[in-house]
Amino acid sequence: MDIKDKTTGPPAWLALALDTQPLDVRPVLAGGEDPFTLVMGHAEGIGAGQAMVVDAPFNPSPLRKVLAGRGFSSYARKLAEGHWRVFFLHDGAADWERQAEVVVMPEGAFTWDEDDGIHIDVRKLPPPQPMLAVLRLLDGLDGGRAVIVHHERMPHFLLPELAERGWRVARLAEEFANVRLWLERAP
């Protein structure tokens, strides 16, 4: 899997977006609803050269890729544990790829790279596609990097397969319809 490391700083256009009132989707996610429609509706009203800011519990890289397709550059900043602020600028997506390089796997899962490891978002995929996507990613990995799985349920059926491959769930964050698992190679 070709996922590049990036250590780029904030973009020059960030100053344009800093004063924008954030759209906080964390309560929506905590309520078990997908905020995608809400965000896309909000983005409809953003004109060329204007900014939009979204607060989310994680870096929503798949959303950033979708909005890049609508002409938005983006930049994400982690403010606290479980609190990310993503800045969008409607500029034709000239700078969209900044920290939002997303690879779409054959099963439809999104993967992207962050400082804490390789993220894979398997939400909305029908079983057993999430399991296949995670295992395909793990089978293609070299080295000791962690993998962070974004799931909408506890993937109990995945656990025996992880164990057979020498991986384990090191940490778990569980909210309604939003489960994150930190996978690492077993010692």
């Binding site: 479980g82 079983p127 057993p128 395909r136 349920r153 025996p160 057979e164 778990l172 569980e174 930190w182």
Partner: protein, 432 residues
């Protein structure tokens, strides 16, 4: 988060491991007893058309004691996890076991000996246990939105369970009173509902979940599950009405529609298997493939029986191929994969070092079971066709030896699980 509960919080659908394992353990014990009954009643197997005795007891030890037992244990654990719906309180699952297991033992003792109080008491307890299990599964299915194909088969299985329970109670009472107009016709309808309706639909539904998961293949499309569910419902309605009304052509038409459902089922499985990530098929497929061959073979024999061809041969052969050939082969194949899988899943979820499926599985007894089971099927089927009691007896003895080999596998699995738990206590892992 406390140690031992890493992923077993409020949102978890995992039951305590002993709940499903108790059902599997009972199935492992009833399995050799069933073959032993067949061995004891071998002289009555060729030409068997029903009636109290060891053969009928052996048949019910397989259907109720092994097949339904495995189905309940698997459904209790796998269904809530798969469809993300709660099953019900753990005590209710335990109560179902306490009603059902003694009920099956008592009923089969009554069927073998003709002792009416055991027959009636066992039938009552078994039906109570089955209905409680059915209620828990229905509660889990109500409100579920995912897996529509699987839910169709599950609902069909539960409807069949209700029908077979009512017919089974009528048949049990009829052994004493003789008030049913045609005991054989009711027994045939009961067999269709039990074999194809209840167990068959559960087997199809579980196959759609388990086979893609175990081979790491793509999901079976929901549309396929809906189509096979619809065809199976039509097939069952035709076959049961035909059996009860004594209309052989109607029952045969049901069998033909059933063959259509099986064809669609196999086409979908073939697609999933062809696109699988795990290239080397695991050992339990040496039972699944023969089971899948014997399903349409049994249906074809059933159609021949419905059309009146050699009932002295086709009646016992149909029952044997359906129950021992297809369902028992399939269920024991799935069970030998599911048991270590559940242990691994639970040890992973409780934290600490997980037990590996590959380390829990003792392959030698499984190979022995597969060989002996295959020989047993062949000999008993041939014995029924050529009316040879020694051949049936030899086959039943082989089946008994194979069942004991599977029991040895289960005991070894228990020993390995216990050793793993003693060597690897759970530890607290991060949970936010």
């Amino acid at each position: 988060m406390m140690p031992g509960g890493f992923m077993m919080g409020a949102h978890s659908r995992l039951l305590p491991l002993p709940v499903p394992m108790r059902f599997f353990a009972a199935a492992m014990v009833f399995h050799p007893l069933a073959w032993a009954m067949l061995l004891a009643g071998a002289d009555a197997v060729p030409g068997f058309r029903g009636g109290l005795g060891p053969v009928l007891a052996g048949l019910h030890l397989v259907t109720l004691g092994v097949l339904a037992m495995i189905a309940i244990g698997a459904a209790f654990q796998l269904l809530p996890v798969a469809i993300q719906r709660p099953l019900g309180p753990t005590w209710a699952c335990g109560l179902a076991w306490w009603l059902y297991v003694p009920g099956v033992a008592l009923l089969c003792a009554g069927l073998a000996t003709g002792w009416v109080p055991a027959l009636h008491g066992g039938a009552g307890l078994s039906v109570a246990g089955l209905l409680l299990a059915g209620l828990l599964i229905a509660r889990c299915l109500i409100g579920a939105t995912g897996f529509p194909g699987i839910r169709h088969h599950a609902w069909l299985a539960l409807a069949s369970l209700l029908g077979l329970a009512v017919l089974g109670l009528l048949l049990a009472v009829d052994f004493r009173t003789g008030w049913l107009p045609d005991h054989t016709a009711f027994a045939a309808a009961h067999a269709v509902l039990a074999g194809y309706g209840f167990m068959g639909n559960l087997a199809m539904g579980f196959t759609y979940v388990l086979v893609p998961m175990f081979v790491l293949g793509p999901a079976i499309p929901d549309a396929v599950g809906k189509r096979t569910g619809l065809l199976a419902a039509l097939a069952l309605a035709l076959a049961v009405c035909g059996a009860l009304a004594g209309l052989g052509w109607l029952a045969a038409a049901g069998g033909a529609v059933g063959l259509g459902a099986v064809g669609l089922h196999f086409a979908a499985l073939r697609t999933a298997l062809a696109a699988r990530m795990r290239k080397r098929l695991e050992s339990f497929f040496r039972l699944l493939f023969p089971a899948w061959v014997l399903l349409p073979v049994g249906l074809a024999v059933g159609i021949a029986l419905a059309l009146g061809a050699e009932p002295a041969i086709t009646a016992p052969l149909w029952g044997f191929l359906m129950v021992f050939g297809w369902l028992l082969t399939f269920a024991t194949g799935i069970l030998q994969r599911v048991m270590p899988f559940l242990v691994s899943m639970h040890t992973s979820a409780r934290g600490g070092k997980p037990a590996l499926v590959s380390q829990l599985t003792a392959d030698r007894p499984l190979l022995l079971h597969a060989v002996l089971h295959g020989v047993a099927l062949l000999l008993v089927a041939l014995g029924i066709i050529i009316q040879s009691v020694p051949m049936v007896r030899a086959g039943a003895a082989g089946g008994l030896a194979g069942a004991l080999a599977l029991l040895a596998f289960a005991v070894e699995l228990g020993c390995r699980t216990r050793a793993h738990l003693q060597d690897n206590p759970p530890f607290s892992q991060g949970h936010t």
